[in-house]
Amino acid sequence: MEETAVATDTDTEVAENELVEELLVEEISIDGMCGVY
């Protein structure tokens, strides 16, 4: 889990980048998923 830095003047840019980082893909295991063999 990302931790957002406490915003200070010097840290703001870094914190903003972290805040806007999007998780655009996610892999999942589909061994059947619950509900199939």
């Binding site: 980048n17 806007v20 999007e22 998780l23 655009l24 893909v25 996610e26 892999e27 999942i28």
Partner: protein, 91 residues
């Protein structure tokens, strides 16, 4: 990353969903969710552009979001969903 020529592997099926898309690789059985419609547009447009940077620009993705897209596309490459497009050889 931004200079790379990437394209979708032919063994991958891309199925649109309301939230984005599902990408399923018939060869390695991996299933990946593309969680944003912009990500789907970018993946679909990769083949039409020389570089990743061109693709992102053409899809009008704000540059502040480029790092997120680069990570995501790197992950897709890692999963073999995308590969380096073979350069076209000119005689």
């Amino acid at each position: 990353m931004l200079d790379r020529h990437l394209e979708l592997d032919p063994q991958v099926a891309l199925r649109p969903e309301p939230f984005g898309a599902l990408a399923y690789h018939y060869g390695n059985r991996k299933l990946i969710f593309l969680k944003h419609p912009d990500m789907v547009r970018v993946v679909q447009a990769l083949g039409d552009h020389d570089t990743l940077a061109d693709t992102l620009r053409s899809c009008e993705i704000d540059e502040t979001r480029w790092p997120s897209f680069e990570s995501a596309l790197a992950a897709l490459t890692e999963s073999e969903m995308l590969h380096e497009r073979q350069p076209v050889t000119t005689g």
